[in-house]
Amino acid sequence: MKLAICAGPATSGKTAVLRHMIRKLIGSSGTEPRASSLPGWRPAYLKIDVQFADEDEELAREFGIPTKKVYSGELCPDHCSVMVLGEALEWARKVESNILFVETAGLCLRCSPYVDGGLGIVVLEATSGMNLPRKIGPMLSLADVAVVTKIDRVSQAEREVFRARILDAAPAVRVREVNALHGIGIDPLVDRTLATPDVNGELLLRGNPPVGTCTICVGKKNIGWHAHFGVVRPLEAQTFYRGE
């Protein structure tokens, strides 16, 4: 079983990219594979979102592949992914899939959903401005591949700066520019996914999760650090620990 986890801000084009990758793998639709499809690949798709998603239904309709969604609700979607990914792989095996694509909403900016052994893809839109790569933390810095979409909408100069800043934030990441409307530049992503080894046995979250529970996480709503304990932070200093 191959595993590719795709994160990125809302509307950056994650579904658009995955849709083209799935099309390359199985042809234009599940029932009538094109000559150009890569035989033997049976993708499945899981969407993890906070409270609304319909990509699973769309992709099931379009390609006839097994799909599924999970709402994370109060949980950070990336934390939710840690909870459900093991069972999701079992589900994918049961429906006789051999490649699982996971799309997560990736809203937290402190977490990242990638696991060791699987492929981590972050999708960023060139239209989000040249500073975005500096702002999104581990979602970018822990990814294997950064896919840049919507390059058809911005100047070459800004594309160049965007790419340079991605590489500043994540020197080892492979940057891939795509036009996800027309599916240009997708082939290398498919190749990279297929070159990823199968996931086996125990899976580990990549990198270190952010600092653990704080008093806000457990429901204390008072404003001001004096009202809290554990890891707190005043306006004019870095975080410190205040015991209780």
């Binding site: 390059i151 911005v154 100047s155 070459q156 100069a157 594309r159 160049e160 790419r163 340079a164 940057v175």
Partner: protein
Amino acid sequence: MIEEITLLGGCGRGGNREHVTRITFRMGDVISIVGPTGSGKTTLINDLELLADGNTPSGRRILINGRAPDPDFRDDPSRHPIALITQHTNFLSDLPVRDFLRIHAEIRHSRQHETDAVMGETLAFANQLTGEAVQRDSRMTELSGGQTRALLIADAVVIGNAPIILLDEIENAGIHRMRALELLRQHRKIFVFVTHDPYIPLLSDRRIVMACGAMTKVIESGAAERQLALRVRAADDWLARFRERIRGGDEFSTDDLEAVA
């Protein structure tokens, strides 16, 4: 070093093979693409920019120096040899022009004096194309349509130093086309204009004629056409001056009637 780029024909909109099966552009060439609205001009230059490899609806393929392009060209915009400037290409950044150009220049040039030099050159280039000069302190998003296009072209030529530049209908943005052509001729590059202009195609080395999504023929501009272009241009300039007078609130008399005749 890029010396030439070859376009291998594919299919038109109905799936019929294109008449033009192969055309090569060499450094220094200026090419126009002409054809009615909807005839596939934009699609053609998009194929060029994408370094199409049979993977676009037209099935066209692009070769560089006679061979399939280096995959790095597609991946890294600073190595991509083709800059495409369309009516929709835009700057999103709201930085002041000077800061924006510095950020771009710094990616290409590590030394401070080089960065300063290319920034100055870029602005000077842009300002030869516009009516109102681009100020270095203006924010990028404050620029007019014509100023934006002028700066896009200048940035692609000077800082980006792209060997191949594709311009899609820049005439609508109101920049000086003739001056653009003259300036661009001084740089040894390949320029491709998609244009509805009456004289730019005649002043180009060649023009590709499009219909129904396909390249139907390639015309080399002859000496007579070049001369004709100058006449057409004079008529066009006259019309432009007339337009200016209308805008300026002029009234007209029988003298003007004689001038038209």
